[in-house]
């Protein structure tokens, strides 16, 4: 899978990118899950593991929640969860 990086927008300066900043169809590699232990484990079981590539898929009308393709399956996450998944 192609891993691409977006140029850092000025507002993002000095801050790590997260899943919500992926454009449709764009992929990124997960760095860490900035979530409570329970939620992080659940997400890791669904395939959101550090080092794995995640691609943004479609979303619900209004853009939230969004579907992400990860490790052979598609998982929908709300914006506030996706924001806590930090990309490399």
């Amino acid at each position: 899978m192609q891993v691409s990086f977006k140029k850092k927008a000025p507002s993002n300066h000095g801050r790590a990118r997260n899943l919500t900043e992926l454009k449709p169809g764009e992929a990124g590699v997960l760095e860490k899950l900035d979530l409570p232990e329970d939620d992080a484990r659940r997400l890791m079981e669904l395939g959101f593991l550090p080092g794995h590539s995640i691609t943004r898929g479609l979303s619900a009308p209004g853009g939230d929640p969004r579907v992400f393709r990860v490790d052979g399956s598609e998982v929908a996450l709300r914006r506030e969860t996706a924001r806590r998944l930090i990309l490399k």
Binding site: L46, L58, A60, V75
Partner: protein, 638 residues
């Protein structure tokens, strides 16, 4: 199956003989374990067919299904379908149950003799993660790779023999939905009845607590067995582009919801009329067979019509479950939950609450059981508490009776909407609004939580199988008819007996002098402010068992055939009830918690009497206050 050549089937034959000849035969139990969406239930249905029943594990709210698999030479083995889990770390209730059953810590269920571990072959690397903790249990395990047909059609590959070698367990590549490759499973189950001794795992397993390590282990196993992941499901992508389209998506969603409703109310009508006719005709027929007048009255008026007035809803309930079954099995329901999530979030709920609330339009009992997919405990309790506000099909006969009697059959908007239909729609909206406002209230006070994380796997779209849909409907019919045959039958008999006692010179009394009337007069002061008389009071008391009982009870009390379309009963009600009282009664039914089965299932699902008590007090209190206000307001205006 050609795919299975070279699988170490011989490992089954090397199982040791049963210990102790002549020992009494004992139940052999095999557990089915697998992640969600791996086809566990499909396999379970394949193996057991109709020889299955749903039960609850003692002390917990998780349901399990136990079924009997018939094997050759009359030997049987019991399979238990455990909840879908990604790991055996006991964190959620589902995981705890699976863990406890597999480790033999579950009361009433002996440790399984063997395990069927079912994994999705199209997503093997991720699903293999579960193999590590399961294999480390040391139980004889058959690793079943399901969805072999999908794997093949999407160009995936795998060396089954090598995988069996790597895992130290037999492996079967099957398609549970198509019933392909199952003979291997039956062969394994036959071996399991011989009583295999637990074997220590021969392979090196990763530390099972460490998910990244387990995942890396799964990848390495996948690489060694030449696992070629299949291409992404093309049709799922295409369908999602439509079903999750910013404009078409919500429209399809609305269309689906409306189509479900339309079918339940219009489509079920002929079937319901047919059942109604059958009950009436058979009632007359039975009446002719019974010479004794009292016995005839009990059987025909008490039992037959009482139970019949409820059985008539079977077509509606089955249609709703057919729809939910199709939506769920096809994979659309996950998309519907995704689309509904934002709206539900506004009321403090989440997309996963949508499915139970939709089911609650048929009946709150299965709806409350469907809340199990909601991980957040607070969201789940909130959904359970508001589900009975949704207008269930048991309220319909009461609505039809009262609306038919009191609301004139005139048009509101041209010829488009009649006044009666508008009143009915209004009651549906009233219930929905009460549910949403209550959710908002709960989530901003006692059940307050940070917006819970919503994680929902989108399964690939699949054709629902007739077999699985039929099994669901049979299952639902059993539950429903059981209720009609127990609770509602009991209430019908009690009402009939109390209405025909005390005997006056060996004859049943006029209804005004019966025990029923005594009870009715006793509660009358409490319901008088709502505009209800003692007869309605009796109807309300009996409706605590099940709402629809109201109609049959009023029929018995007024001495008229209990049927919501009956002009006789409508006439009698018009003479006995003011318009204010009638509107009050409708409002009361929209809000009140008059269903013992719902309370029982809420107690079971929330693990105590606290929530069902709160729910009963809140709903009934709200119903009382609103019925009182409705009665006063209508009385003031008219």
């Amino acid at each position: 199956m050609g795919d299975c050549h070279g699988c170490p089937a011989n490992s089954l034959a090397t199982l040791p003989p049963p210990p102790g000849f002549g020992a009494p035969p004992r139940r052999h139990i095999v557990a089915i374990v697998g992640p969600p969406n791996s086809g566990k239930s499909t396999l379970f249905n394949r193996l057991t067919g109709l020889r299955q029943k749903v039960a609850n594990f003692p002390g917990v709210t998780v349901e399990h299904r136990m079924g009997r698999v018939k094997l050759e030479r009359g030997r049987d083995v019991f399979v238990v379908d455990l909840p879908g889990v990604y790991s055996l770390t006991p964190r959620t209730e589902d995981e705890r149950v699976t863990h406890d059953v597999l480790s033999g810590q579950m009361k009433d269920i002996p440790r399984p003799d063997a395990v069927l571990l079912i994994l999705d072959s199209t997503n093997l690397s991720r699903h293999l993660v579960l193999a590590a903790p399961v294999l480390s249990l040391g139980l004889p395990t058959l690793v079943i790779l399901n969805m072999a047909d999908d794997l093949k059609s999407r160009g995936g590959e795998l060396d089954v023999a090598e995988l069996a070698m790597q895992l130290g367990s037999p492996v079967a590549l099957v398609s549970a939905a198509k019933g392909v490759g199952l003979e291997k499973i039956f062969q394994f189950l036959s071996g399991a009845t011989l009583g295999a001794a637990p074997q220590a795992p021969l392979i090196q397993l990763p530390v099972i607590q460490d998910i990244p390590k387990c995942r890396a282990w799964a990848t390495s196993i996948g690489n060694k067995t030449g696992y070629q992941a299949p291409a992404p499901p093309l049709w799922t992508r295409r369908l999602d582009a439509f079903f999750l389209h910013p404009v078409a998506g919500p429209l399809v969603f609305l269309f689906v919801v409306l189509a479900v409703f339309q079918t339940i109310f219009k489509g079920a009508k002929p079937l319901m009329d047919a059942i109604d006719e059958a009950i009436k005709t058979s009632g007359h027929w039975i009446g002719h067979l019974l010479p004794n007048e009292a016995l005839r009255s009990l059987v025909v008026d008490g039992v037959w019509k009482g139970v019949g007035s409820v059985v008539i809803f079977l077509p509606q309930i089955l249609l709703l479950f057919l729809f939910i079954g199709i939506l769920e099995d096809s994979g659309y329901l996950a998309r519907a939950a995704l689309i509904a999530d934002r709206t539900m979030a506004r009321f403090g709920l989440q997309g996963k609450s949508f499915i139970p609330l939709l089911s609650a339009y048929a009946c709150a009992v299965p709806a409350i059981m469907a809340t199990r997919t909601i991980e957040s405990k607070r969201d789940r309790i909130a959904t359970i508490l508001i589900a009975p506000f949704m207008t269930c099909s048991a309220r319909l006969p009461v609505y039809i009776l009262i609306i038919g009697a009191f609301i004139p059959d005139r048009h509101v908007i041209g010829s488009f909407l009649g006044m009666q239909a508008a009143a009915m729609l209004g009651l549906y909206i009233l219930g929905f609004a009460a549910a949403m406002l209550t959710a908002r209230l709960l989530k901003s006070t006692v059940l307050k939580s940070r917006r819970s994380s919503f994680m929902l796997e989108m399964p690939p779209y699949r054709w629902p199988t007739v077999r699985s849909l039929a099994l669901r409907l049979v299952d639902r019919s059993k539950v429903f008819l059981y209720r009609a045959g127990t609770v509602i039958l009991g209430v019908a008999i009690v009402i009939w007996v109390l209405s025909n006692l005390p005997l006056n010179h060996g004859k049943p009394p006029a209804i005004e002098h019966s025990i029923t009337a005594g009870i009715g007069h006793f509660v009358e002061p409490a319901i008088k402010p709502l505009g209800f008389n003692w007869k309605i009071g009796i109807g309300l008391i009996t409706s605590l068992a099940a709402r629809e009982t109201m109609v049959s009870s009023l029929g018995t009390i007024y001495g008229i055939e209990g049927d919501e379309h009956s002009p006789g009963l409508q006439q009698a009600l018009r003479q006995d009830l003011t318009l204010g009282g009638a509107i009050g009664l409708l409002v009361f039914f929209a809000f009140a918690m008059q269903c013992m089965s719902t309370s029982a299932v809420v107690r079971r699902e929330t693990g105590g009497w606290f929530w069902p008590s709160v729910q009963f007090a809140y709903m009934t209190g709200l119903a009382y206050i609103c019925a009182f206000l409705a009665n006063r307001i209508v009385a003031f205006w008219s």
